[in-house]
Symmetry: C2
Subunit: 317 residues, 2 copies
């Protein structure tokens, strides 16, 4: 533990600011300089989920001076909530989010399960001191809550998502736990999330939290939204109040698997620097969270993965 703390002290906590090098004059705020250290890096623990349990991941993060993580519920459950919380705290790590609640669409027989499960997720996020609970809202009910009756009614799923978030945000407000709706790529509309654009997520936020009181916002992952011609406008609309988390990885060409072939930053086609510039121009000041689901990166040693994340954060993000 002393070694962990000592190593972490090497890492400068505050990233300095410098003017954005790009010629985009629309941006009013300078981009943060990520080239000097990795104090703004957070590691989504799914990125190395095959290499070890949450305790091993926390230890590896501390070893490399990573200052924050975003853990998944199943990884927390596998070691126990208390033990996970202590390990994160002892390592001096912050959280950039907690993954994940959601999966709202369900038939009547599974509605209670969806509600209870989401409340537990809020409670766990609060126990861990997460800044937000990320919501992957679910697709059609048979995939969102297995066992539910099959449906092709996407509009009904949209309505169930809206109702589900509307009910959960009351609970989250009481627990003082912000909810971050994550729009997922349209290729996941059926089985993972039927909210697939930042615009749709922000429309939900505006309808369910018109006061913008801080308990409802979005988690923006470049993988899901980079293709959207309305992305820049919607990021500007989003603003700091709604932007609760920012995730990076890359889109590979070709993509060989719909779920498990995300790329390391710099290996794909996403203009990461441009998007981060817009996100920060909108007022975002949080961690830059790396989340990569990849059979390729899961097959590599954890130290190599983390070192690569750090190097790419400094050069291409």
């Amino acid at each position: 533990m002393f070694r962990t703390i000592r190593l972490m002290l090497r890492c400068e906590p505050k990233a300095s600011l410098e003017a954005r090098s790009s010629a985009d004059h629309k941006l009013r705020r300078p981009m943060r300089d990520l080239t000097r250290d990795h104090s703004l890096l957070s590691l989504n623990t799914a990125t190395v989920r095959k290499q070890g349990d949450l305790l091993a991941i926390v230890e590896a993060c501390a070893r490399h001076g990573v200052r924050a993580v975003s853990p998944w519920r199943d990884q927390v459950a596998a070691v126990g909530l208390d033990r996970a919380g202590r390990a994160i705290k002892d390592a001096g790590l912050a959280l950039s989010g907690y993954c994940r609640g959601g999966m709202f669409p369900a038939d009547a027989a599974h509605a209670q399960e969806a509600r209870d499960d989401n409340r537990r997720a809020v409670d766990e996020a609060a126990a861990l001191g997460a800044p937000c609970l990320v919501l992957v809202v679910g697709g059609l009910p048979q995939f969102s809550r297995p066992g539910s009756a099959s449906s092709k009614d996407l509009a009904a799923a949209h309505a169930q998502v809206e109702d589900g978030i509307g009910a959960l945000v009351e609970y989250a407000r009481a627990a003082e736990m912000p909810l971050a709706i994550e729009p997922l790529h349209p290729m996941y509309a059926a089985d993972r999330a039927c909210v697939n654009t930042l615009k749709h997520a922000l429309d939900l936020c505006d309808r369910l939290d018109p006061e913008r009181d801080g308990w409802l916002g979005v988690a923006l992952d470049v993988y899901h939204v980079w293709w959207d011609p309305e992305l820049s406008a919607q990021i500007a609309r989003c603003g700091a109040k709604r932007m609760l988390a920012y995730h990076v990885c890359d889109w590979l060409v070709p993509t060989r698997d719909l779920l498990l072939d995300r790329g390391m930053m710099g290996d794909g086609v996403i203009d990461l620097s441009r998007i981060r510039g817009e996100v920060e121009a909108a007022g975002f000041t949080g961690f830059v969270e790396v989340e990569i689901f990849s059979n390729d990166w899961w097959s590599r040693p954890i130290d190599e993965v983390i070192e690569t994340c750090i190097a790419r954060l400094k050069t291409v993000v």
Copy 2:
């Protein structure tokens, strides 16, 4: 040939109309009744591209009383343009489109190639008597026109697409060949088409053809757009003047391959009847074109594939 013509006569050419069974009162036009015959079916020839050349496909269509096809350029080139045209005409087949032009983004060294190639596509479509040339607009230049310098600038690709269509529509107007922009699923944004929503395609149409003079519209394929929460509104905006082609297949869960795992109608999650109802309510009166890229369906006998298309058209489309 006599056998072909005789078989085709079994097929009633005019689909009767009946009131839409759904309770969607917003629709002002009755849906066409597809249950009695398959006179409105068109087969996109890529659906059976592995089973035989274009001549074999045309013969199989005639054998099954399919009244229209939408051929691909490479399949036409493989048998020769004249021979392809004669075979289609001799079999009494109509065309529902010609696939495809597009792939506009290119670096300076490949710009002429993109322009010339698209003009040839227009000429071929006119020679075959196609009702429209389908445009798959291209993604980033290195994928759209291989050999082009790499870029991550999606906004620049959007601009090149707009410029390319703007130039081509002049040529198409002179050739009296309508151009149909096909929005592709966002998972193809990098390498196939960076126009990924019906809204984006219609915005291009409105900017490049504000007079709505009939030479620019869209090809709507349910596979690419079914997930879009704005789909209904954009179909209504589209109207008969802009809706030049309508394609069906299905979205499978899980989808095992980004390109070659489309489903047969009814095997996936798309609410085909609802979407067709909206398309026809908007005034579309053309063929319902089946386009399935699938390693699964490519491995089956051509007669089985066509018989299944006919059966599903009557029951689930």
